[in-house]
């Protein structure tokens, strides 16, 4: 099976990325609604009276509310980061399907993906640190340095340079008569 062009592995992967992209937007919407809803409930805890109670105490929500909102916001930022990565990947795969991978734009897209992967990995440390600070006993998050993640970041940056060289060679080929 071919790797590039229409009906290739690339087009199959592009379909998967499209589905993931749409799903991520739905998740992002849900996170946004959850953030707004939690903000409204924190501002007006009385809204929950007579409806539902959390651990039997409505007042607990107003105490935990900011941390819940923070967690939702962190989740939203994470989803946003993944959304950016998948969005750039979709555009890269669109060029692969078109049979023209060495477009100059792909260099920038790969760099954005590398930066986002690094930021997501750094945000994991921040979140783990915050959990350890705010709730020392509850922290189950792994705050250890992931060599795999940083290896992936470096590989993506190296691939960006490979694509930059490919784009330069393509330009050379275009201007070779």
């Amino acid at each position: 099976m071919r790797a590039l062009g229409p009906g290739s592995v690339s087009s199959l992967l592009k379909i998967i990325l499209d589905v993931v992209y749409v799903a991520l937007w739905i998740v992002a919407g849900a996170v946004l609604i959850g953030f707004i809803a939690s903000g409204v409930l924190v501002a007006n805890p009385d809204l929950l009276k007579g409806a539902i109670t959390i651990n039997g105490e409505v007042t607990e929500l107003s105490q935990r509310g900011p941390s819940v909102m923070g967690a939702i916001a962190a989740g939203g930022l994470y989803v946003g980061g993944v959304l950016i990565i998948v969005g750039r990947l979709r555009r890269i795969f669109a060029t692969l399907i078109a049979g023209d991978p060495f477009q100059p734009d792909n260099v920038r897209r790969l760099r954005v993906i590398g930066v986002m992967l690094a930021l997501l990995e750094l945000s994991r440390y921040v979140v783990a640190g915050l959990f350890a600070w705010l709730a020392p006993g509850v922290n189950k998050a792994d705050a250890g340095v992931s060599l795999t993640a940083w290896f992936a970041v470096l590989v993506v940056f190296v691939l960006a340079e490979v694509f930059r060289e490919g784009a330069r060679l393509r330009r050379e080929a275009e201007l070779t008569i």
Partner: protein, 78 residues
């Protein structure tokens, strides 16, 4: 670039149009225009061979070297 292309001058001397030359050598007009305007980065021996054959000239009639600073390898037209 220190390499100068004199295709327009050779064409004028032969009273040949770019379109006619393109038909004869099997190169698109767009590519010949790139060559004629000095935007080309390289020229294949096969293209040079066809040009010299159809124009009845030597490679030195089409391209010459004029001392000067070399071009930026990444090109300045992007």
């Amino acid at each position: 670039m220190p390499i100068r292309v004199h295709l327009d001058r050779v064409l004028l001397e032969r009273r040949m149009s770019l379109t006619e030359l393109a038909d004869r050598v099997g190169v698109t007009i767009a590519n010949l225009s790139i060559l004629k305007t000095g935007k080309a980065r390289a020229i294949r021996f096969s293209t040079l061979d066809a040009l010299c054959r159809e124009l009845g000239c030597q490679p030195g009639d089409i391209v010459t070297f004029e001392p000067g600073p070399p071009d930026d390898p990444d090109g300045g037209e992007d």
